[in-house]
Symmetry: C2
């Protein structure tokens, strides 16, 4: 094990906040080993290091490390994979921002708005390439067979993510509003796999868990990941960035209230609202979504949010959020009790107990 | 070994054309195994399969397979790596076309011109992700240790490519014309590694070659790759796409004569010309390069080509091309004679004997 991994401070499992802070610190100490500050700096490495330096909760690697510890593994052996996941996350944010032409990321101009699309796109490609370098350390740390299982899982996470992303941006491209089934297929890939199932199963695989535990933690992760996405979606419509904690998965990039409506983001809220609206109201709601953001008036957004509330669409999503939390918690009943399981339960309860907004 | 690899027709080494055709066929038979036709089709897989279906010489995988055979390996064991290299190549073309906002690729509209930047960018990301899937087959085919060495080499190829690409597009972004040293650093990464050293060293590593042979074939590949790039650059200025064979590395995307000048591409021709021009002529030449392509008149391009010829810049690049060919051939003197070595020599002689233009 490289000395810098051996020297990482121990993780604390007695308290969720302390654990998440410790895991985030590990990720921040690991990243420079795979994302060095080197030449060509001005055109590449400074750009690639920008988003990781803007902070973030490092939620996905934290989940990976926690599941590795829960399954009886040494989380230190999961550090290269946690770093790989964070590199992938930052790569995805850079390309996502180009695809959505977003203006801000964590309160600062997006990378392509600062440096133009060509350099930002290429810096994103480097971040994805460096995933390969991080995973190279797994062979020595885990042994050849487990390292191969982990790589297989990463390949699956990547494929599912781009499949989900293709649906999401394809619908925007075609002004298409998906039905519930298509939406589920998208969110299971883009959010379920990428933000939940992938990280949890990777942690379990690194610890050498049996298939049943890998699958259970995967089911837990999928429910949790989708649940937190729904919670972020609810927060976007019901809280101003100024007066709310940033979303867990969005990382709090400080969107204005209802920004998702202006951007026409396909969320479960939209699916639920469209199913409840009829005639001209449905048409107006759909038109607001497909209209370019710059042409969407604040009054349109306020009206859409009011309709989502009044028709019970928001309540349905709140209920779904709680249901996913309960589902995630129920999966854990089959997992032996441990401090790590208690933290996973606490995360799931967050979705059940909290009334978002 | 998977049956579909065992069943590939044998490669012929008696003749360069026959060998290249056979290797290209292998790549085309291998690609569908790693790039299937599946859902989501309209938003993702059809896009990702578009460029590979437009053809191409599959020059880099052919080089990889040839070096594997030369080093005494079974080229069939190199098929997943050859496919990975071709996936990477097509990923790079998709993102390159976005970065340069190119209009045409092999005579058809570029992917982002057909589907918009978001979907094209994401389809490129999938192609790069599928490299992971192709490389998964190496563990079973090569054994854990050689598979790890191959992955390490791929990671190096990726990093070098994005570093070189960052310089190239950064200079365009900043209207900067590099000096000779900076240009060498760029082309060694972007072309030397990606199109030559990488493929050749990968083939040698797959065959289990010793360090000396890996390095020799790498040196050969770097000289060959850069040489063919110079040849493509010369062809762009001296031949119309209508009346010339397509470039080996450019894959013949049918640019107009002098398109590189209009695009302001930083080539060795530009470096040589700028070193030879003085005063207002140098200023005019530089201005033509940094001007947006749409504002570059045919007369400007004709003037720039005439100056490059008259000052001896083109002759210097032709000489450098021949020198690289001779250098590549000289490296092979240390390699035992074989039908494969003869084909590599023939490729190198192409640069020495042919008077491009």
């Amino acid at each position: 094990m490289p000395p810098w991994i051996t020297d990482l401070p121990p993780l604390a499992y007695h308290n969720l906040g302390a654990y998440l802070a410790g895991a985030a610190q590990w990720v921040e100490l690991a990243l420079p080993h795979y994302l060095p500050d080197r030449e060509p700096r001005a055109y590449l490495y400074a750009l690639a290091r920008d988003y990781p330096a803007r902070g973030g909760k490092r939620f996905r690697p934290a989940l990976l490390l926690l599941c590795a510890a829960l399954a009886g593994g040494d989380p230190r052996r999961a550090v290269p994979s946690a770093a790989a996941l964070e590199l992938f996350q930052n790569f995805a944010l850079v390309h996502d921002d180009i695809e959505d032409d977003s203006l801000l990321r964590r309160g600062q101009p997006t990378l392509h708005r600062q440096h133009g699309i060509p350099l930002a796109l290429n810096a994103g490609d480097l971040l994805f390439a460096l995933v390969h370098e991080a995973l190279l350390d797994n062979d020595a740390l885990l042994g050849a067979e487990p390292a191969l299982r982990v790589r297989r899982q990463f390949a699956e996470v990547f494929r599912q993510t781009f499949e989900g992303q293709a649906m999401d941006i394809g619908w925007i491209h075609d002004d298409h509003l998906p039905d519930r089934e298509a939406f589920q297929a998208m969110i299971r890939r883009k959010t379920g796999w990428y933000s939940g199932r992938g990280p949890c199963q990777l942690g379990a695989l690194i610890a050498g868990a049996d298939d049943a535990l890998v699958a259970a933690l995967g089911d837990y992760g999928e429910a949790l990941g989708i649940g937190f996405q729904l919670r972020d979606d609810l927060l976007n419509l019901t809280a101003d960035s100024a007066d709310s904690a940033p979303g867990v998965l969005s990382g709090g990039y400080g969107k204005e209230r209802g920004g998702d409506i202006a951007e026409g983001k396909r969320t479960l809220i939209v699916i639920e609202a469209l199913e409840r609206l009829r005639g001209p109201e449905r048409e107006r709601f759909a038109a607001i979504l497909v209209r370019p953001p710059a042409q969407t008036a604040p009054a349109d957004i306020a009206w859409a949010i009011e309709r989502a509330e009044a028709t019970g669409a928001l309540a349905a999503v709140r209920a779904r959020c709680a249901e996913l939390g309960a589902q995630a918690r129920a999966v854990l009943a089959a997992v032996p009790a441990s401090p790590q399981r208690a933290l996973l339960e606490e995360l799931a309860d967050y979705l059940v107990l909290e009334r978002a907004a």
